[in-house]
Amino acid sequence: MITFEHVGKTYGDWTAIDDLSLHVAEGEFCVLIGPSGSGKTTTLKMINRLIEHDRGRILFEGAEIRSFAPEQLRRRMGYAIQSIGLFPHWTVEENIGAVPRLLGWPKSRIRDRVTELLGLLALEPERFRDRYPRHLSGGQQQRVGVARALAADPSVLLMDEPFGALDPVTRDTLQAEMLRIHKASGTTIVLVTHDIDEAIRLGSRIVILDGGRIVQSGTPRAILTKPANDFVADFVGREDIGIKLLSIERVSDRMRPGETAEGEPIAADASLRHALSLFVARGIDRLPVIGPSGTLAGAIRLADLTGGPT
């Protein structure tokens, strides 16, 4: 879907990106992460030519991005940013319909698409359609921002710290929704963050950058279990690597089907980290597990958390 070949970007005598090569496959949820100044946002903005690279090549669906007019290229990519940037003088419907209008979609198709996207982002279409951004909470505004980015069915969605300015509860809900949307639509997503927990939760692949170079690229599990060097180990947080590993696995991965236990059950799709929290908080070593249909599916023991993946 997107390929960087030996890409570089220099501002004066400061090298922002140095010989970066990366392939983002179709359907991947690729998270770019790194400290400030690591080049993660520059990398993202080079994809839709908000920043022009000055060395190497960037390919989009097999073609050099310079072979497209910048506006045409951007209309095929969704773009959501931390500051959201909703048009204050347009309603929610007009904001979401912005790119489809640029592409000349008929009115009825835009309207249907807006209805669909509002539903997808858990905003009641009839309640929110005609509101102005100033009448929305921060979380609702970013939902509209994401809906706007998804409006024209882009083949790739670029997100620059989209949840960075939200409160933890809203951020958590929106992260869950992004996972759901990614699963349902299969859209390729490239997301920039500086929050390692967000990267571990969302990414099917994590790319860690430092000083304009890729330090390590791999699945969350690979990053956590085999950090390439001390920088990565420090960045992911040495002390709670174990906790973070628990957070990427589901209870259903380790549970014992058919076994029973006493007490309030845990959902099968909850994370092992959640299970550990319940074990410690309740001072127990067994938890009943209920499946998606709400029926008891088995149990999980404290000792199950320490085994390798099954």
Partner: protein, 383 residues
């Protein structure tokens, strides 16, 4: 106990003016200064009842400040303004019966001060009582109707200012039309040059300092000096190219007036255009660029609508300033209401001066209120 200090102050000033200054003055002819006509004559034979609308205003500062109270106060203040006008006109009619035709009855200091206090009280009550700006202006316009009815109905025709008007009916109409035409003719080049220049300065920050320096210097030149400075070069230009003279351009008259007024008007328009574009949030422009709008689309669909309230606010300053400066342009033969004012000043005929000043103030206030309303409505639309 005391609920509204503003109104209390207005009432106090009004009462002090009534006690210390003349309401109307009477003189045997227009050149002599008038003698005060006593309140006893003005209010005799039951005419004191015309002052009843003042009662709510006197107790108003001590009433609970509810919406209904504010509405009553606004109506009372407007009614008082109309009835004072009627009282002055009525005295003039009675005095005219007993005096020679050249005798003059004029408004006194107390009349002007109390009218001003009543206008402020009405505006203040509307401001406090009605939050919707469009409704506030509509009600304000309705409240002015009784005053227009008193003037239109001939009740003040025997007052000196209206006698001056009767003598100069056609001159007055021409003056108002010329005045408005000069202001309108100034706005065309002002917007034609000012808007593009403002956009340019938004895009090229380096040009801002020098351009604003020049516009600021122009603003500090006294208007009379700038009008005068333009006479010689324009006259020379016309001597050089007589064709210009034939299409109406000359060293005196409307041409230098419009050029000078345009130069003055550029600063507020350019500054508000640049400021309006600058306050468009960067995140909104970033998002628009990132979703694939062209620079022209961003300008037309995003920047212009979001900058418009600030630009119109600048236009408001420009128009009010141009209405006032056009009066001075009469000195170089541009005509307009200024011609009437200067004629009155030369002849020491204060009422003739007022005949020029009152409509001038009315035009400026009307333009100010209309454009202020436009700004409020634009702001409500664009958030």
């Amino acid at each position: 106990m005391l609920k509204n200090r503003v109104l209390l102050l207005l009432v106090a000033v009004g009462l002090a003016a009534a006690a210390g200054l003349a309401f109307v003055t009477h003189a045997p002819n227009r050149l002599l200064s008038g003698q005060a006509v006593s309140w006893a004559i003005v209010l005799g034979a039951g005419r004191w009842m015309a002052l009843l609308p003042a009662l709510p205003l006197v107790v108003g500062p001590f009433l609970p400040q509810s919406r209904a109270v504010h509405l009553v106060l606004a109506v009372s203040a407007a009614a008082l303004a109309a009835s004072l006008l009627w009282l002055a006109g009525d005295v003039a009619i009675r005095l005219a019966d007993t005096a020679t035709p050249s005798a003059r009855t004029s408004f006194g200091g107390a009349f002007w001060l109390i009218e001003a206090m009543a206008a402020l009280a009405a505006a203040d009550a509307l401001q406090r009582g009605i939050s919707n700006p469009a409704a506030r202006i509509t009600i304000g316009a309705v409240l002015i109707l009784p005053i227009l009815a008193v003037i239109g109905g001939g009740a003040i025709d025997q007052l000196s200012i209206m006698k001056e008007y009767a003598n100069r009916r056609s001159v007055f109409a021409t003056a108002v039309a010329t005045h408005l035409a000069i202001v309108g003719a100034t706005l065309l080049p002002t917007l034609g040059i000012g808007l593009p220049l403002g956009v340019l300065l938004d895009r090229r920050a380096r040009l801002r300092r020098p351009v604003f320096a020049v516009l600021n210097i122009i603003q500090t030149i006294p208007s009379i000096a700038l009008f005068g400075l333009l006479i010689a070069p324009l006259a020379g230009l016309v001597a050089f190219a007589p064709l210009l003279g034939r299409i109406g351009i000359s060293g005196i008259g409307a041409t230098p007036a419009i050029i000078a007024l345009t130069l003055y008007s550029l600063l507020p328009i350019v500054r508000s255009t640049t400021a309006g574009l600058e306050q468009v949030p960067g995140s909104v422009v970033d998002a628009a660029t990132g979703m694939g709008m062209t620079p022209a689309q961003i300008f037309r669909r995003v920047e212009v609508p979001l900058a418009l309230p600030v630009v119109v606010a600048g236009l408001r300053v420009t128009v009010v300033q141009a209405v006032g400066l056009t009066a001075v342009a009469a000195l170089i033969g541009a005509g307009g209401l200024g011609a009437i004012i200067f004629q009155g000043l030369n002849g020491s005929a204060i009422d003739l001066v007022l005949l020029g000043v009152v409509p001038l103030v009315a035009i400026a206030i009307t333009a100010d209120i209309a454009l202020k309303l436009a700004v409020t409505m634009l702001k409500m639309r664009s958030g």
